[in-house]
C-alpha cells in the first residue's frame, strides 16, 4: 500500500463522532491485581453462542484454570475456574446483562491459595501446528475480549479456511473512559506482540498490523519497542469513535471495505483485540486458560479510578471497593464503555470475559438534565446520518421501526447497524435511535427463531398425521385379516360338517 492511499483511506472513513475521552481518569495508575473476593460467580454463558455445559457439582474442589463448563456446541466456549477453591453453589444468579435476568452460574469460594492447575508450558510455542494452536485457544475458553465475546478459535478456524492475508490487531479502544487496552499495551507489550505472532501463525496471515489511536502515545511507543525486529507493524490511527469497530479499523489500515452484511474474512482480513492477543499468548505459552481480564473502573463517582486485573466472576461491588469505594451515589452504572455498554441495575453482578469497563457515572457526566426530558420530534437535521459510521440513515430506519415496518428498516440497512450509538449521541432531539435499532434487531431475531420453530412443529405435526393414518390403516388391515380368517375357518367348518353329514347319509 502506498502512502498516498493510506492517507486517503482515513479520509474515506465516514461518520463517527468525537466524544469527550475522559481517559485521563484511569490511564495513569498501573494495572493492579484485585484482592481475591470471598466468592466468585462464574456464569456459564459469557460468550456469543451456546452456553457452556456444566462439568462440576456442588462440593467439588477445583484448581485455578480447571474446566467447570465444557464448550456447548460449534459456536461456544468452555469456562474455567478463576481461582482454586470449592464449588459452593450452582444455580441462577443475576447476569451482567441489561435485562438483569438470572443465568446459570457456578459459585466458587476461593481457598486463598490461588493454585494453578498443572499446565503444559511450552518453550517454543511456534513449533505447534496452526490447527493445534486453534484447538488450544478454543480449549482455553478465549473469546473476543473487545466486547464482542465471539469464540476466538472459531474465528481462527474460519480464517484458515477462507485464506487470510492480513491480521489486524485492534488497539483502537475508542470508547470514552476505557483504558484497559491502553494500560495492557503499555505494560505487557512484549506478551501482546508474541500473542500477535501466534495468532498470525494460527491463521496463516502474512501481514500483521496493529492499529492504535493517536491519543495513546505511551502505548504506541511501548508497542513499537516490543515489535522492533518482528514483522508486526504498529500503525497510528486518528482518535475518533468508533475507530475500534473492526470494519472501520480495516478500512483505515488497508483501504478495503468489508461488504454490507459481510464478514471481514471475505476480504482476507482477520481482526483480534490486543487483550485477546495477550490471552492467546498466556494460553499457548503457559497453558493458562482465560480466567481473568483487565477491567477499567472509572467514572466521577469512583474514588480512585484505575485498571484492575480481575478474576472472572468477581462482583462489580468488589471492584468498586478495591478502587476506594464510591464518592457519591452514581446516577448510572455502566458495564463496558458509555457508548455501547449496558446499564447495570445494581453492583451485585459478576464480571465476565467481555467486561472491559465498570463505570459509576454521576448525574453531571451523563447530562441528567437532558436525560429527564422526553425525546423531541425529529427535525430531520441529518446529524445522525453524518455521524453514522456504517453510512446508514438512522432517522429513516427509526421512523420505519416506530411505524412497525421492520422490513423497510431492513431494506435501509438495519442489519449493517453496529449499534455504536453515534447517532443517539449526536441527536439534538434526544431520540433513542439505538434503542430502536436494538429493539428491531431483537424482534427480527425472535421472528427468525419463531419461523424455524414453526417449520419444526409443522414437520412434527405432519409426521404425526402420517403416523396416525398408518395406525388406522394397519388396524383396518388387521380387522380385515381377522374377518377373512374367521370366514375361512367357518367355511372349513361348514365343509367339514357337510362332509360328515354326507358320510352319515352314505
Amino acid at each position: 500500500m502506498n502512502p498516498l492511499s493510506s492517507l486517503f483511506s482515513s479520509f474515506r472513513a465516514r461518520g463517527g463522532v468525537h466524544p469527550d475521552g475522559r481517559k485521563d481518569l484511569s490511564a495513569e495508575p498501573p494495572i493492579r491485581l484485585l484482592p481475591m473476593p470471598p466468592l466468585l460467580f462464574v456464569p456459564l454463558q459469557q460468550h456469543v453462542g451456546a452456553p457452556a455445559r456444566l462439568s462440576v457439582v456442588v462440593g467439588d474442589l477445583v484448581l485455578k484454570g480447571q474446566l467447570i463448563g465444557a464448550s456447548g456446541g460449534n459456536i461456544s466456549a468452555p469456562v474455567h475456574a478463576p481461582s482454586s477453591g470449592r464449588v459452593v453453589a450452582i444455580g441462577d444468579f443475576p447476569s451482567p446483562h441489561p435485562s438483569g435476568l438470572p443465568s446459570a452460574t457456578v459459585t466458587i469460594a476461593p481457598d486463598g491459595e490461588d493454585r494453578w492447575i498443572e499446565a503444559d508450558v511450552l518453550d517454543d510455542p511456534f513449533s505447534l501446528s496452526p490447527e493445534e494452536i486453534s484447538a488450544r485457544v478454543g480449549a482455553a475458553g478465549i473469546v473476543g475480549l473487545g466486547g464482542a465475546t465471539f469464540p476466538s478459535a472459531v474465528k481462527l478456524n474460519l480464517s484458515r479456511k477462507s485464506g487470510i492475508a492480513t491480521l489486524i490487531v485492534n488497539g483502537g479502544e475508542c470508547e470514552p473512559y476505557l483504558t484497559c487496552d491502553d494500560r495492557l499495551m503499555r505494560e505487557r507489550a512484549d506478551g501482546i506482540v508474541e500473542g500477535i505472532l501466534l495468532i498470525a501463525h494460527a491463521a496463516g496471515a502474512k501481514e500483521m498490523l496493529v492499529g492504535i489511536e493517536d491519543n495513546k502515545p505511551e502505548a504506541i511507543a511501548a508497542m513499537r519497542r516490543a515489535a522492533a525486529g518482528t514483522k508486526v507493524q504498529i500503525r497510528v490511527v486518528p482518535a475518533m469513535y468508533p475507530m475500534g469497530w473492526d470494519k472501520r479499523m480495516i478500512q483505515v489500515l488497508t483501504g478495503k471495505e468489508v461488504p454490507a452484511e459481510g464478514r471481514s474474512a471475505e476480504i482476507g482480513v482477520l481482526v483480534h483485540n490486543v487483550a485477546t492477543a495477550w490471552a492467546v499468548r498466556e494460553a499457548i505459552r503457559f497453558g493458562r486458560p482465560l480466567v481473568s481480564r483487565v477491567v477499567t473502573v472509572s467514572g466521577a463517582a469512583v474514588a480512585a479510578p484505575g485498571n484492575l486485573e480481575v478474576p472472572i466472576g468477581a462482583l462489580a461491588a468488589d471492584l468498586i471497593k478495591a478502587c476506594g469505594g464510591l464518592l457519591s451515589d452514581p446516577a448510572r452504572l455502566v458495564l463496558g464503555g458509555p457508548m455501547m455498554g449496558t446499564q447495570l441495575p445494581h453492583l451485585n453482578v459478576p464480571m465476565v470475559k467481555g467486561s472491559s469497563g465498570l463505570l459509576a457515572l454521576t448525574g453531571k457526566e451523563i447530562g441528567l438534565r437532558v436525560a429527564q426530558n422526553s425525546p423531541a420530534p425529529c427535525i430531520r437535521c441529518s446529524s445522525c446520518v453524518r455521524a453514522c459510521p456504517a453510512g446508514l440513515l438512522p432517522l429513516e430506519m427509526a421512523a420505519h421501526i416506530r411505524a412497525a415496518d421492520l422490513s423497510s428498516a431492513v431494506g435501509l440497512g438495519l442489519k449493517d447497524c453496529i449499534g455504536c450509538g453515534s447517532c443517539s449521541y449526536v441527536c439534538p432531539a434526544q431520540i433513542p435511535l439505538v434503542h430502536y435499532f436494538n429493539y428491531a434487531k431483537g424482534e427480527l431475531a425472535a421472528l427468525e427463531k419463531a419461523k424455524l420453530r414453526t417449520d419444526a412443529t409443522r414437520k412434527l405435526a405432519d409426521s404425526r398425521n402420517e403416523r396416525m393414518a398408518r395406525v388406522v390403516r394397519e388396524r383396518e388391515e388387521a380387522a380385515r385379516l381377522r374377518v377373512a380368517k374367521k370366514a375361512a375357518a367357518e367355511a372349513a367348518k361348514a365343509a367339514k360338517t357337510a362332509a360328515e353329514k354326507a358320510e352319515v347319509v352314505a
Binding site: L101, A404, H435, Y439, A450, K451, T457, L460, A461, N465
Partner: protein, 179 residues
C-alpha cells in the same frame, strides 16, 4: 329501432362468446394461493382459528373471509408472513398482546392418563400410563388441545418464560406527538 335491437344483441352475443372462450382458455385450476397459505400455517390442525384444520383456514384466508391474524399458535411471525402473502396490512402489535404461551403439566395434579399426549398434534407431550407427563418446550405450539382433554385440569398454558437467550430490548415508548 330494430336495427338497434339487432345490432346490440349481436354485439352482446359476440362479446359474450369471446368472454366465454377466454374464460375457458384462462381457466385457473383451484386457487394456488390456498396451497401457498397452507405452507405458511403451522399445520398442527388445532382448530383455534375456528376453521376445520389448517386447510380450512387457508381457504378462508384466500377468500378473504378471515384476517391474517387468525392463527394464535403461529403468532406474529405467521401473521406477518400471511399479511405479506395476501398483500394486506395487519397491526402486528395487536397480535403481540397475545403473549406467546406454552403448555405446562402441573405435576401434582397429573394422574398419568395419557389423554393429553394422545391429543397433542405435534407430539410435544411425553408420558406413559400412570406416569407424570412432561412438555417439550421446543415442540409445543400452545394449541390448547391438551388443556381441553385433561380430566384433572393439570395442563394449562403459561406464558413462555423469558430467558437470557430470548430477551431483547422492548420498543421505545412512543414519542409525544408534535403539538
Amino acid at each position: 329501432m330494430f336495427i338497434a335491437i339487432f345490432s346490440l344483441t349481436v354485439l352482446g352475443g359476440a362479446l359474450g362468446l369471446f368472454l366465454g372462450y377466454a374464460a375457458r382458455r384462462l381457466k385457473v385450476e383451484g386457487n394456488p394461493l390456498v396451497e401457498e397459505i397452507q405452507a405458511i400455517l403451522p399445520g398442527s390442525q388445532c382448530g383455534q382459528c375456528g376453521f376445520p384444520g389448517c386447510a380450512g383456514a387457508a381457504r378462508a384466508l384466500a377468500n378473504g373471509a378471515a384476517p391474517a391474524t387468525l392463527c394464535p399458535p403461529g403468532g406474529r411471525e405467521v401473521a406477518a408472513l400471511l399479511a405479506a402473502k395476501l398483500g394486506v396490512e395487519v397491526n402486528l402489535s395487536e397480535v403481540k398482546n397475545a403473549v406467546p404461551r406454552i403448555a405446562e403439566v402441573q405435576e401434582d395434579l397429573c394422574i398419568g392418563c395419557t389423554k393429553c399426549y394422545k391429543a397433542c398434534p405435534t407430539d410435544a407431550i411425553m408420558g406413559a400410563a400412570k406416569q407424570i407427563h412432561a412438555v417439550f418446550r421446543e415442540a409445543c405450539t400452545a394449541c390448547g388441545k391438551c388443556v381441553e382433554v385433561c380430566p384433572t385440569e393439570a395442563t394449562r398454558l403459561i406464558p413462555v418464560p423469558v430467558t437470557l437467550q430470548s430477551w431483547y430490548w422492548s420498543k421505545p415508548a412512543m414519542q409525544g406527538t408534535p403539538a
